[in-house]
Every structure is written in structure tokens, then in C-alpha cells.
């Protein structure tokens, strides 16, 4: 009834299994980190950056290396600097709304006293605070250009923008009369999956809301149309990761029109 020892070089199971496993690992590692990379090597051409055999091993191991500086194409415009996180606007209080109301006196001639515009400036009443805050930051940094808005935000501080966001978010939204006679247009409710367009409503509120996407309900149709055209042309380029540019570029003129009219609702 003796139990033979296992972890000893005299046990054939032990020696064989360890040797086979280690051998396999070594052969696979040599092939994966030396041999295969050498077959696709750019050792000859690229003195900068590639780094010879050691460079190849690092690359096979997944170590990120910046490419040669000259190959990076920089866009000729400035993108947004804002990162949207759940805690970005934490801590807004009633005082914030009050300060925002005072600041908003400068804005009311275009955006309306209660955030509802008479002209074709966008409505701000009830807009999600992240949207207001981000757009103001983008106007200030130049990521979103507007001859009208840029000079107005130049002297706003970060706290001013938070206060304005809190104030406008606090105002009641525009009354929106959804056209009930017809179902929402396909582009709003289904998108166009084959062209990679998610339903507008999946981000803008009809179905669900995504951070940074604006309430469009009751917005001026002229404004919506103008923004979509600007996204498509690339003249508006402050959307993170090209979320809206990628969509607007592949929309048809008819779809832009349908979406604008639907969101404008009774106003149109």
C-alpha cells in the first residue's frame, strides 16, 4: 500500500508532462515572437522606430510604440477637449441655478427669457446640462465655431458654464406636440442599419438617451437641418469620436428633412 511519489524526476509522468509542456511552450513562443515576426519584418526599411529584433519581440508582445513622428496626420481643426463622465457635473445646487439665471440675462435676447427661442436659435430650456456645458466649452475652445456664440463665451469661466447648464436644465422644456397622425419616420425609430446609422431616438431621447446627445424635441427645424448639414460637411466637428459626423455624412437629404420635421413637431 505504498503511494509512489509524484513530484520527483524518477516519476515518468512528472518528467514527461513537464518536459512536453515546457517544450511546446518554448517552440510556440519562439515561433510567435521570433520566427513569424521576422517573416513580416520591416527591419530593412524602417530605421526609425522599428528597433530591430528586440523591436519585433516587443511588438509581438503587444507593447505599444509610437510610430515615426512624420507619419501622423494631424487634423487641421481643433477637436473637443471635453470628456463626458457621469461625475462631470456632480455638485450643482440651487445656488448654481440662481447664478445661472443671472448670467443668462446676456443670452435671453436670442435664446429667450425662459430658454425658448423666438428666432431660429436653439431652445435651451430643459436641455440636458451635459449638453449645454459641453457646447459652451467647445465654443470657447474653438472646437465648435459660431461667429455669434464664440465672442459671448470668451469671458465665461468653467463655473459660469456649470451654472448656466444648471439653470437651463432647470427650465421647463418646450411643449412638444408629437404628430400623432403618422408613426415616427423610419430614420428616427429604426435608423438605417445597412448604412451604419443607429436610430436617432436611441441617443436623442425617443428610445433612450446617451451622454452628450441633445434633446431635439421642439427644436427649430431650421436649426436641426443646419446642424446636420454642418456635421455632414465637417464644418461642425466637435462630436466625440465622430458620432454625429459619421451619421450625417450617410444621411439622404430626404432623411435629414424628415428628422428635422419630426423633432420640430407642432412648431414646424
Amino acid at each position: 500500500m505504498s503511494i509512489e511519489p509524484l513530484f520527483t524526476f524518477r516519476n515518468r509522468w512528472f518528467t514527461t508532462s513537464v518536459a512536453v509542456t515546457a517544450g511546446l511552450f518554448l517552440v510556440a513562443a519562439l515561433a510567435g515572437f521570433l520566427w513569424l515576426p521576422s517573416l513580416q519584418s520591416n527591419r530593412g526599411q524602417a530605421a526609425e522606430g522599428a528597433g530591430g529584433i528586440w523591436g519585433e519581440i516587443c511588438s509581438a508582445a503587444g507593447v505599444f510604440r509610437p510610430g515615426p513622428a512624420k507619419s501622423v496626420t494631424k487634423p487641421d481643426f481643433r477637436g473637443t477637449q471635453v470628456a463626458l463622465t457621469p461625475t462631470l457635473l456632480k455638485g450643482a445646487d440651487a445656488a448654481s441655478v440662481g447664478r445661472g439665471a443671472t448670467l443668462a440675462l446676456q443670452c435671453s435676447m436670442c435664446h429667450g427669457a425662459r430658454g425658448l427661442s423666438e428666432a431660429d436659435s436653439p431652445n435651451l430650456a430643459g436641455q440636458h446640462p451635459l449638453v449645454i456645458y459641453k457646447q459652451l466649452q467647445d465654443f470657447k475652445s474653438g472646437a465648435r465655431s459660431s461667429a455669434v456664440m464664440e465672442p459671448l463665451v470668451a469671458k465665461l469661466t468653467d463655473q459660469d458654464m456649470r451654472d448656466l447648464a444648471a439653470f437651463y436644465a432647470y427650465l421647463p422644456r418646450a411643449p412638444w406636440n408629437i404628430p400623432t397622425d403618422a408613426p415616427p419616420p423610419r430614420i428616427v425609430i429604426s435608423g438605417a442599419p445597412v448604412r451604419g446609422i443607429a436610430p436617432c431616438g436611441a441617443c436623442h431621447g425617443t428610445l433612450s438617451m446617451k451622454p452628450g446627445a441633445a434633446w431635439l424635441d421642439g427644436q427649430s427645424p431650421v436649426y436641426i437641418r443646419a446642424q446636420l448639414v454642418a456635421f455632414a460637411a465637417g464644418t461642425r466637428h466637435n462630436d466625440i469620436g465622430q458620432q454625429m459626423r459619421n451619421i450625417a455624412r450617410v444621411m439622404t437629404a430626404a432623411e435629414i428633412d424628415e428628422a428635422a420635421r419630426y423633432y420640430a413637431g407642432a412648431q414646424q
Binding site: I3, A28, G32, P37, G62, I189, P193
Partner: protein, 541 residues
């Protein structure tokens, strides 16, 4: 020698209840995104359903079957009462509480993140806490399996551990180690965000941790099925197991090579280097070995049964098999589905071919065929085989059982073959809506309808399955006698210590995991700037 019948039945019933609910969700998903139904106009409902379906089918069903069957094997194979039954009930309680905790936020639409968690999407914390509770409950099971075997070995020094128990404990160790990856991801990456302690998450690293779990969890799902192949099928069809050592070798190989290969789920991911992808591919190729061994051994065992029944000739013996025996049907169907599924798997594991079918409906077709088909059909067979021993009543309705197995097989083929095909045509997975009026998609419409029909057959089969089990509780009482596992042609008295213990194989398993995963994990952990802002499900209204 079964003293924990209620415990075992409780596990099986929780598993099958979750299965039944999820089955209906699956068919609903198939139906509403087919051309037979107008677009539901809200993708959120779809993802809510897929999260529920995936969580119940991938976590609750197999974990509870493995636990219940594990307790059964412990008593039936070791021929003594389970040690630590109170703890087993605690583990079961955790699984129940966890399932309920997870299901509520999913049903409310607060955690439509899919069962793979999909960071940077983050949902309600209770969903993850629920999943963690189920896993912790299963860890209690792992510990109990280990303790029971240890005590038995002390009382039977030098004796060969019965194959069923040997495999069962191997499966539990595999699960213990593979669940660590997802546990780290949940506890250290996702839950802090879900609880509002952090706002960013390293989604790439999270995917690496999930891949640690994702491959070997498949082998954990597979364990009860393979145990049934080796230790139930030969006996049930009147044959003998061709080789006991081959069985031990297969389970050992699963232990060693199922772990260090998960990066094959990340072939298209940029955050893992090509060298590691190759390394994992090599070991992936090896994992076919235990399955080939199994197919060979089980085919030989089946042939033995046929020859014992007077079968003759090179292939003529196949006719002599007991085709009216439910176990015979189950193993045959399971092997056919395993064969097709395995062939598909060869495509998935080939780096270049994978690029073609990555994230298409081919993948869902593939794992429904293997998991929902080859694996789950043996869960049914296990239930049929052990039910009389658990209830003390006969399962007499053999006709119904055969109809159930046939419909599951046919339904699964009709569901998954078109599913593979539309995947090749380019249909992406995890999409709530397909516009079949578009000329690019129109050719897929009829194939999707075929899948809907396959799913309906499966629902019917699922109902039959529950009907058989429920009738089993009402049937006349019988004495089923002691439970017997298969006997090998050469039933071993003693086996080499390597084939009777786990130390060596666990060392290799952990060692290979560390060398194959260590660097990518450390590298991502120490590289700054790899975090992205988390997206909270249903946060903004």
C-alpha cells in the same frame, strides 16, 4: 446510498426553471427580429431579453447542473453520504439569491449589458452582485467536492478514485480557476464603476480578464456531458467503457490546456500582441486532443455494446445498437452536433478565417449547436437517468422521452444551420433590428424564418422535457436499486498516482495560465492612458 436527494433535486429544478424561462426569451428574440414580425421599435427590449437569456443559459443552467450532478456523483460513486450537506444548502441558497438579485435589474432594464458584461457599458450594480453570488455559491461546491474526495482517499489509501468522481473534481477545479478571471473583472473593474466609485474603466484589460474565463467556462459546461459519455452511456446501452485510463487522460488534458487559450476570443482585439495570439492558438489546437480521445473511446465503447448484442461486420454492428433506448439516441445526436460544431470551431480558431465570421451570426449559430445542442441534450439524458433514483419513481414514458430528444436534435439543426449561413452572408450578431427590405439583406430573410421554425420546435421539445420530469414525480413508486456507473473493460484497481491525483496537472494549469496571460495583463495594468469613460445603462433620461 443517496442521502441528499432533495439537495440534488433542488439544484436540477432551479437549473431547469431558469432554462425554461430563457428558452422562451430565445424564441421571442429570434421571432421579433425575423421578417415575420414588425420592428419592435425599441432595441432596449431586445437587449434586456438577450441579457436575461444569456445569463440564465450560460451561468445559471450549467452551474447548477454541474453542482447538482456533482453532489449526485459524490454519493453514488463514493458510495457514502455527502460530507457538508449544510454547506451545500448554503451554496444553493447563494445561487437562488444571486439569480433573483441579478434578474430584477435585468427585467427592469437597468442592466441590459449582455452576459459578457460588455464594458465600458456599465449597468445596475445588483446585476453583477447577483452573478458574483452565484459564482461564490459554486465555489462552496468546489470546496465540498475537494473535501469529500480527500476524506474518501484517506479512508481508501491507494485505491483508484472512481472515474466519475475523478472527472467531477477535475471539472470543479477547472471552474475554480477559470472563474477567477471574471471575478477579478467584476470585483476590481466593473463594480467600482457601477457603485459610483470610479468613472473610467480599462475596457481592453476587462476583455482580457473575461477571456481568461470565457474559454474554460465552455469546458466547465461540457464536463457533465463528458462525464455522462464515459460513465453513464456505456452502462445504459448495455456495453462497457473501452478504457478507464483514456477517460482520466482526457479530463486531465482539459484541466491543463483549456485555460491558457482564451485569447483566441480576442483575435480581433488590438490590445493583445500578435505573439500571444499565436501562443494561445497553438494551445487551442491541442485542446482538440481530449475531445478526439473521447470520441474514439466512446465509439469503441458503443461498438462493444453492439457486439455484445450480436452485432457483426465492419459497420453492420451499428444496426444492432439499442436505438429505442433514450441514452443511445442522446449520445448519437450529441455526437452529430459535436461533429458539426467542432468543424465550425476549427474555422473560428483559424486566425485568418476568424476575421470573416467574427461577430457575425455564425458565432451564435456555432455556440448554440455545441452548447445548446451537443452539451444540453446530454443534460437531458443525465436528468432522465438519475430521476428515478432521486424520486424513487419510474420514468416510464419512453416514447415521450424519445420524442423529446428527436425534437431537440431536429430543432437545433433547423435553428443553427441557417444561422451559420446568414453569418457567412455577413449578418452581425447582437443586433436588434434587420431591415430585410434592403436589397443587401433580402436574401437572408427566408433563412432567418427557418431559424424561427427551428426555435419553435425547440420550445416544444423544452415543454416535453419538463412534462417528462413532472410526470416522473407522479409515477408509481419503484425501487430503482443502487445507482451504477459504467464498468470498464479492464476495471482498474490501482492506477498510477498521476492519474489518481491533481497536483501535477493543477501546477501545469496554473503555470501555463501565468506564462500565457501574465505579460498581457501586467502590461495593460502598467500602461497609462488605457482607461475610457464608462457608459452607464439607462443613466440619462
Amino acid at each position: 446510498m443517496l442521502t441528499s436527494k432533495r439537495l440534488i433535486l433542488a439544484h436540477f429544478w432551479l437549473a431547469f426553471a431558469a432554462f425554461a424561462g430563457a428558452l422562451l426569451l430565445g424564441e421571442w428574440q429570434m421571432f421579433i427580429r425575423s421578417p415575420l414580425h414588425a420592428w419592435i421599435s425599441n432595441p432596449e427590449w431586445y437587449y434586456r431579453s438577450v441579457t436575461g437569456h444569456g445569463t440564465a443559459m450560460a451561468y445559471v443552467l450549467p452551474t447548477l447542473v454541474a453542482m447538482g450532478f456533482g453532489y449526485f456523483i459524490t454519493e453514488a460513486a463514493l458510495k457514502r453520504p455527502l460530507i457538508g450537506r449544510a454547506w451545500a444548502w448554503v451554496g444553493f441558497g447563494l445561487a437562488v439569491v444571486g439569480t433573483i438579485t441579478a434578474v430584477i435589474p435585468v427585467a427592469l432594464g437597468a442592466a441590459s449589458v449582455l452576459y459578457t458584461f460588455y464594458p465600458p457599458l456599465v449597468g445596475n450594480p445588483f446585476y453583477y452582485i447577483g452573478v458574483v453570488l452565484v459564482v461564490v455559491g459554486s465555489w462552496i461546491w468546489v470546496a465540498l467536492m475537494s473535501v469529500n474526495l480527500y476524506r474518501w482517499k484517506k479512508d481508501n489509501p491507494g485505491a483508484a478514485v472512481p472515474l466519475a468522481m475523478f472527472a467531477n473534481v477535475a471539472g470543479s477545479y477547472l471552474w475554480a480557476w477559470t472563474s477567477v478571471g471574471a471575478a477579478i473583472e467584476l470585483l476590481f473593474q466593473i463594480l467600482p464603476v457601477a457603485l459610483g466609485l470610479r468613472t473610467t474603466i480599462d475596457a481592453g484589460l476587462a476583455r482580457v480578464f473575461f477571456s481568461w474565463t470565457l474559454h474554460a467556462i465552455v469546458y466547465f459546461w461540457l464536463m457533465p456531458t463528458y462525464i455522462a459519455y464515459y460513465t453513464i452511456v456505456p452502462r445504459a446501452i448495455g456495453g462497457r467503457l473501452y478504457s478507464d485510463s483514456m477517460g482520466r487522460l482526457s479530463f486531465i488534458l482539459f484541466l491543463v490546456v483549456a485555460m491558457p487559450i482564451g485569447v483566441h476570443h480576442l483575435f480581433m482585439d488590438p490590445q493583445v500582441g500578435g505573439g500571444f495570439k499565436f501562443l494561445h492558438s497553438v494551445f487551442t489546437a491541442l485542446v482538440a486532443l481530449p475531445t478526439l480521445l473521447t470520441v474514439f473511446t466512446i465509439c469503441a465503447s458503443v461498438e462493444i455494446a453492439a457486439r455484445l448484442r450480436g452485432g457483426r461486420g465492419a459497420l453492420g454492428w451499428i444496426r444492432a445498437l439499442p436505438w429505442r433506448n433514450p441514452m443511445m439516441l442522446a449520445i448519437a445526436f450529441s455526437f452529430v452536433m459535436l461533429g458539426f460544431g467542432g468543424a465550425g470551431g476549427l474555422i473560428n480558431m483559424s486566425y485568418q478565417l476568424d476575421a470573416v465570421i467574427h461577430n457575425t451570426q455564425w458565432i451564435t449559430g456555432h455556440f448554440h449547436l455545441i452548447f445548446g445542442g451537443a452539451i444540453v441534450i446530454m443534460y437531458f439524458a443525465i436528468a432522465y437517468d438519475v430521476w428515478p433514483h432521486l424520486t424513487g419513481r419510474a420514468l416510464e414514458c419512453h416514447g415521450l422521452i424519445r420524442a423529446q430528444l428527436w425534437t431537440w436534435f431536429i430543432g437545433m439543426m433547423v435553428l443553427t444551420f441557417p444561422w451559420h449561413w446568414v453569418g457567412i452572408l455577413g449578418m452581425p450578431r447582437r443586433m436588434a433590428y434587420y431591415d430585410y427590405t434592403d436589397p443587401a439583406l433580402a436574401p437572408q430573410a427566408n433563412w432567418v424564418i427557418m431559424s424561427v421554425i427551428g426555435g419553435a420546435i425547440l420550445v416544444l421539445s423544452g415543454i416535453l422535457f419538463l412534462a417528462v420530469l413532472i410526470r416522473g414525480h407522479r409515477a408509481p413508486q419503484i425501487d430503482p436499486g443502487p445507482y451504477r456507473f459504467s464498468v470498464a473493460v479492464h476495471q482498474p484497481r490501482r492506477v498510477p498516482v498521476a492519474l489518481n491525483s491533481y497536483g501535477l496537472w493543477l501546477s501545469l494549469m496554473v503555470g501555463l495560465t501565468l506564462v500565457n496571460y501574465g505579460f498581457p495583463i501586467l502590461h495593460l495594468l502598467t500602461t497609462p492612458g488605457t482607461d475610457v469613460p464608462a457608459i452607464t445603462v439607462g443613466a440619462q433620461k
